[in-house]
């Protein structure tokens, strides 16, 4: 196993310890604590007020647009990271290429702004 993968093995072990620790603690407490469920106890906590309807509700389309905007700029960021590692080697050419890329994606933000979908009403 290479050094690279050995360093990720640490991440794996950390993850495993975290899972074991949490399940051990929660399992132990569920074994020790008394369990007396009542209908009042099992309703959803909604800031002290009785909840109306179910938790499964249809969401607004506005959230979808925000999620899509997030995808667009997430992908943009992902392309900027490798470019940044070789920034000096590419020089002006790289700057122009990335400029075009960012400009095209910026147009989508301008479009969203002009259409008023960024406004939170």
């Amino acid at each position: 196993m290479s050094d690279f993968l050995r360093s990720y093995l640490t991440v794996g072990i950390f993850l495993g310890v975290a899972v074991v620790l949490v399940s051990a603690l929660l399992g132990l407490s569920s074994l020790l604590r008394p369990s007396k469920p009542t209908p009042q106890k099992s309703i959803v906590y909604e800031s002290g007020v009785d909840p109306v309807g179910t938790g499964w509700a249809q969401s607004q389309i506005r959230y979808y647009i925000f999620a899509l905007l997030f995808v667009v700029f997430d992908v943009e960021a992902v392309f900027i990271f490798p470019w940044a590692t070789r920034l000096e080697a590419y020089g002006l050419f790289g700057l122009i290429e990335m400029g075009i890329f960012i400009f095209i994606l910026f147009l989508s933000l301008v479009y969203a702004w002009r259409k008023g979908v960024l406004r939170w009403v």
Binding site: Y63, D74, V78, R86, E97, S108
Partner: protein, 166 residues
């Protein structure tokens, strides 16, 4: 190499089980959450082959953004989310056929491109550097890179046109 194969097997098994749950679960929100396990498995496989940047990108873009988009997409629909409903329909055999053809085409492309070459001989046994990814983007794949931005622009404009109340 043996340890790598063992981890590959474990991750692949978890991925296959989660992928089967994606299509068999009755709750479509749960299906999206099982998809997170599959995509995390893909990221783990990338890291196992030394493609660190691609693995991190997989987590950042797919788990961080695309699944969120899926969840909002599911929650938008009038489909009865959350309740145990019959989500199958009569077209499932046709869908199965399409999936089978897709599997055949993709596995043929993989086998055709790499034949029996091993990962160490392709990558040289060292993890791929992010600067190598960058060189590939800015030398061989410059046009697809710029085309990707157009694709994202078109997707966003399309979504805004569909979503906006006229």
């Amino acid at each position: 190499m043996v340890a790598q194969n063992i981890f590959f097997g474990i991750i692949a098994f978890v991925m296959v089980v989660a992928a089967l749950r994606v299509v068999t679960t009755k709750n479509i929100v749960h299906a999206a959450l099982y998809l997170v396990i599959v995509l995390a498995g893909v990221a783990a496989q990338f890291i196992l082959t030394g493609a660190e940047f691609v693995g991190v990108t997989q987590i950042l873009v797919y788990i961080g953004a695309v699944v969120v988009l899926f969840l909002f997409g599911i929650m938008l629909t009038r489909a009865r989310i959350g309740r145990e409903v019959e989500v199958d329909n009569e077209k499932r055999w046709l869908a199965g056929l399409v999936a089978l053809v897709l599997f055949a085409v993709m596995s043929f492309a993989l086998v055709d491109a790499f034949e029996d070459s091993r990962i160490e001989s392709v990558s040289g046994g060292t993890p791929q550097l992010t600067s190598e990814v960058s060189d590939a983007i800015f030398k061989d794949y410059l046009i697809p890179f710029e085309a990707a931005s157009f694709l994202l622009l078109a997707a966003l404009i399309g979504a805004i046109v569909v979503a906006r109340r006229e």
